[in-house]
């Protein structure tokens, strides 16, 4: 296990290095300069300012400098937010994004699983159709539509929840609900299909033949086996939440990372683009790693380190 983990960490670092390199050069292909008032400055003035940031150097030199700083954990200073360290910017904004993401993922997974299980057990009944209907709605309505609708009804008309801003738990409810819709829909659909398949398999028949109660079969044998494929989609869903949170953060005026990332690209804020890309990639790679570990826990048949014990 230790050896496997170490091996994986090395792969993860290599992946990150490749991502950083590709992003760096792709980013430099973006036209324009990172200066905020490019439209007000003359080319001479731009050259003066570029000099200070080393932007007049040849690209390979800039690349080596960047990697050097990166190796020391220095992500540089933002252009858009004069001289603010990028590390500080990410650290300050990740809290709300992470909280929302986690809440949405947990809520979405739990509700999704329950709905999926109910739908599978009460196969082809009113419950099943109800759950499927919810899933279709969850997938087809974009989160921002749902968010705007909730904001208007619950926030403005009924005044049950705060319209927007970020001042306490009650402020997280609507954004969490908006984000979790997609998760609920995906997980419940997946769970239903998997569970139905498992229920039809031989070992469930055997369990039934042994006289184990229906609930016993479902809890002990069926759900557990059905969970394995479900875990696979949690990784991609987490990423989906990360990107989905961008719109939701805007609608609910949440001080998160999403908008910052997008804005940095349109403003050519090189250091912030690199910083957030590396951060998001690292997070994504880490989630995949955790999911792989989880497989082994849920299904002992899967041996991560190539079957060795």
């Amino acid at each position: 296990m230790l050896r496997y983990t170490l091996q994986r960490i090395i792969y993860m670092l290599i992946t990150l290095f490749i991502i950083a390199t590709l992003t760096f050069f792709l980013m430099k292909l973006l036209p324009g300069s990172p200066l905020k008032s490019q439209d007000k400055l003359t080319p001479e003035q731009i050259t003066i300012i570029n000099e200070k940031y080393g932007l007049n150097d040849p690209l390979p030199v800039q690349y080596v400098n960047y990697l050097g700083n990166l190796a020391q954990g220095d992500l540089g200073l933002s252009f858009q937010y004069d001289n603010r360290p990028v590390t500080e910017m990410i650290a300050g904004r990740i809290g709300p994004s992470a909280q929302l993401g986690l809440q949405a993922l947990i809520l979405g997974s739990i509700v999704g699983l329950i709905l999926g299980i109910i739908a599978a057990i009460k196969h082809n009944t009113f419950f099943d159709y109800g759950a499927t209907f919810l899933a279709v709605i969850g997938i087809s309505i974009p989160s921002f539509v749902f968010a705007g609708f909730m904001q208007f009804v619950l926030g403005v008309k009924l005044q049950l929840l705060p319209v927007a801003l970020w001042e306490g738990f009650s402020y997280t409810i609507m954004p969490t609900l908006a984000l979790s819709g997609f998760v609920i829909a995906n997980i419940s659909r997946f769970m239903r299909t998997e569970l139905l398949e498992v229920m039809a398999s031989d070992y469930i028949m055997l369990a039934k033949a042994k006289g184990i109660s229906q609930s016993g079969i479902i809890i002990k044998h069926a759900i557990r086996n059905a969970l394995i494929p479900v875990i696979t989609i949690i990784g991609p869903l987490a990423v989906n939440i990360m990107t989905g949170s961008l719109v939701i953060e805007r609608i609910f005026a949440i001080p998160g990372l999403g908008e910052q990332f997008v804005k940095s690209i349109s403003m050519n804020d090189y250091t912030v683009i690199m910083g957030t890309t590396i951060f998001y990639s690292a997070l994504f790679i880490f989630i995949i790693f955790v999911v792989d570990i989880l497989y082994g826990i849920v299904d002992p048949r899967i041996r991560l380190a190539g079957g060795r014990k």
């Binding site: 400055l41 004069d82 001289n83 319209v163 005026a253």
Partner: protein, 553 residues
């Protein structure tokens, strides 16, 4: 394994009950909060002089030397103060300066006496603070984008280009309270320039103590304006408090201004509706809904938008073709229908209600409208242009930004121009912000949607954009007569302000007569503001608002 699994199940169940409980409980609590909260804020603010506002982005910078954007300038205008501050009538009024300066006979040397003002940490504001800040701004090592704002000060341009040392800049502290400034030219708009952020003083001692952290947080900055920045939660909110050490604090009535950072207009409007914000800006789609609301208002801005007509294009090199293009579309309905936010159709370059001449008259009042919509005339000119330039059908590419608003503008123009000018096809080319600027500066476009906001309170900030080979010309326009008028207004005529004003008026006429650009509109903004908010002053340049005189009734 069974144990582990049941543990997992228990955990999941526990979490689910926890979350369910939270959302239920939280919901109730929130509803109480928001109900009582909204009631309170209304009652309290009437008593307590608290203004709740919305900022459209995080404050990019609180370092007055480095800032370049509206949100920063707006906050700075209220927490810092230069030698002058724009007053309620938008005229430069004494700020850190104790009295009007002594000006030398050639109009190039100003000697200021500073008043006994203090920074919010108790330090005195001294002449040295100005010297420090100005030198820092032009020092190429600072890489301040707005260094060029100081180019009218003697030596600034050379220092910024690295050809001279920062201490050769034309600013000297004679003693703690006396400041001597030497200009390159005797510009007439210097006083209003002094109210601009790049000209603010900076507390040198405090700056050096804070080092890299200077002005990055509320408590690593120091303030000499009507308010202080008392709290700054990045990307979330910030708060201004009345500054007890401000020299004119008796005039300041507001105790607190709360800003929440909200980027979405619909959200801002919803916050206004639930009384969490006292003012919200509106975009076109909200105007129809609120037009008859008694709290609805519009205010003119000083940014002017126009089409750059690139004369590198063979068709657009023809004056009649450019004229036809300008006359062929309906600016009035464009502004009323597409923008719908208090913007005005523009038949000019220099905005209305922006600068007054030596005669006390607004520039616009004297020059009036310099163009009109006339489809019949446009058709004739277009036919003439076809003969002169030898074309029958032509495709022109319209360069624009890639946002929703720009898309509507492009569609409208395409429809109007193609209908009214036979044989014209307009291809819309939406591009990301920076790419669009890049294409323009390289001249790789036919015509483009562009805008300009003033850097200082004088028509020159608009007019000198289009001199031959000017950095912002970007469309190959060149007229020697125009160049001469601009050069004169920047040089010999500085000592004869009436003649200079005339030169500027004439220059604009030439530009419009050449149809170098097709002016589109002067921007306005629509907003909702609670009726108990009084006295917010809107400024034509620099920070958008002055809260110094605002109060809650």
């Amino acid at each position: 394994m069974n144990k582990k699994f049941s543990f997992l199940l228990v955990l999941v169940l526990a979490l689910s009950t926890f979350l369910a409980a939270c959302s239920g409980g939280g919901g109730d609590k929130a509803s109480n909060e928001s109900k009582s909260g909204s009631g309170d804020s209304k009652a309290d603010s009437k008593k307590e002089q608290v203004l709740n506002l919305i900022a459209t982005s995080e404050i990019p910078s609180m370092d007055s030397t480095l800032a370049t954007d509206n949100v920063s300038f707006n906050v700075m205008n209220n927490v810092y103060e230069g030698l002058y501050r724009l007053d309620q009538k938008n005229e430069p009024a004494l700020g850190m300066a104790a009295e009007e300066p002594k000006v030398s006979e050639d109009g190039k040397t100003y000697t200021f006496k500073l008043r006994d003002a203090k920074w919010s940490n108790g330090d005195a504001v001294t002449a040295q603070d100005f010297v420090f800040s100005w030198r820092r701004a032009v020092d190429p090592a600072t890489a301040a984008e707005y260094a060029y704002m100081l180019y009218d000060v003697k030596g600034a341009e050379e220092i910024n280009a690295g050809k001279a040392k920062p201490d050769t800049l034309g600013i000297k502290a004679i003693d703690d309270k006396t400041l001597e400034i030497t200009l390159k030219n005797n510009i007439p708009y210097f006083k209003s320039l002094l109210s601009f952020a790049t000209f603010y003083p900076q507390n040198e001692k405090f700056f050096k103590e804070q080092g890299k952290n200077y002005a990055l947080e509320a408590n690593t900055g120091v303030y000499n304006g009507p308010f202080t920045l008392s709290e700054w939660k990045h990307e979330q909110s910030f708060q201004l408090k009345k500054n007890p050490t401000y020299w004119d604090n008796a005039a300041v009535k507001l105790e607190t201004i709360n800003f929440n950072i909200v980027k979405d207009t619909a959200t801002a409007v919803n916050l206004y509706e639930t009384k969490k914000a006292d003012r919200a800006g509106l975009t076109a789609e909200f105007v129809d809904k609120y037009k008859s609301d008694p709290n609805f208002g519009t205010s003119p801005d000083t940014s002017v938008y126009f089409l750059r007509l690139n004369e590198k294009n063979e068709v657009l090199a023809n004056k009649n073709a450019r004229k036809a293009l300008d006359m062929a579309w309906d600016k009035k309905s464009f502004v009323d229908v597409i923008l719908n936010n208090g913007s005005k159709p523009a038949y000019y370059l220099v905005p209305d209600k922006f600068a007054q001449g030596p005669d006390g008259k607004d520039f616009r009042e004297t020059n009036g409208d310099l163009g009109k919509q006339d489809v019949e005339e446009a058709k004739k000119l277009w036919a003439k242009a076809k003969k002169e330039a030898g074309f029958d059908k032509v495709t022109l590419e319209m360069l624009n930004y890639d946002d929703d608003n720009a898309a509507k503008i492009s569609q409208y123009l395409k429809e109007q121009l193609e209908t009214n000018l036979e044989g014209l096809t307009v291809n819309i080319k939406p591009q990301p912000f920076k790419q669009k600027l890049e294409l323009e500066s390289k001249g790789n476009y036919d015509f483009s949607f562009a805008g300009w906001g003033p850097d200082y309170q004088d028509p020159m900030t608009f007019i000198d954009m289009f001199v031959t080979d000017g950095a912002h010309n970007q469309m190959g326009y060149s007229n020697p007569k125009y160049d001469k008028l601009v050069a004169d207004a920047k040089g010999p005529l500085l000592s004869d302000l009436d003649a200079r004003w005339k030169a500027l008026l004439d220059a604009e006429k030439i530009l419009m007569d050449d149809a170098a650009i097709s002016p589109m509109y002067q921007r306005g903004t629509a907003y909702l503001q609670r009726d108990y908010v009084k006295g917010i002053v809107e400024h034509p340049f620099g920070g958008d608002f002055g809260y110094k005189w605002a109060h809650i009734e």
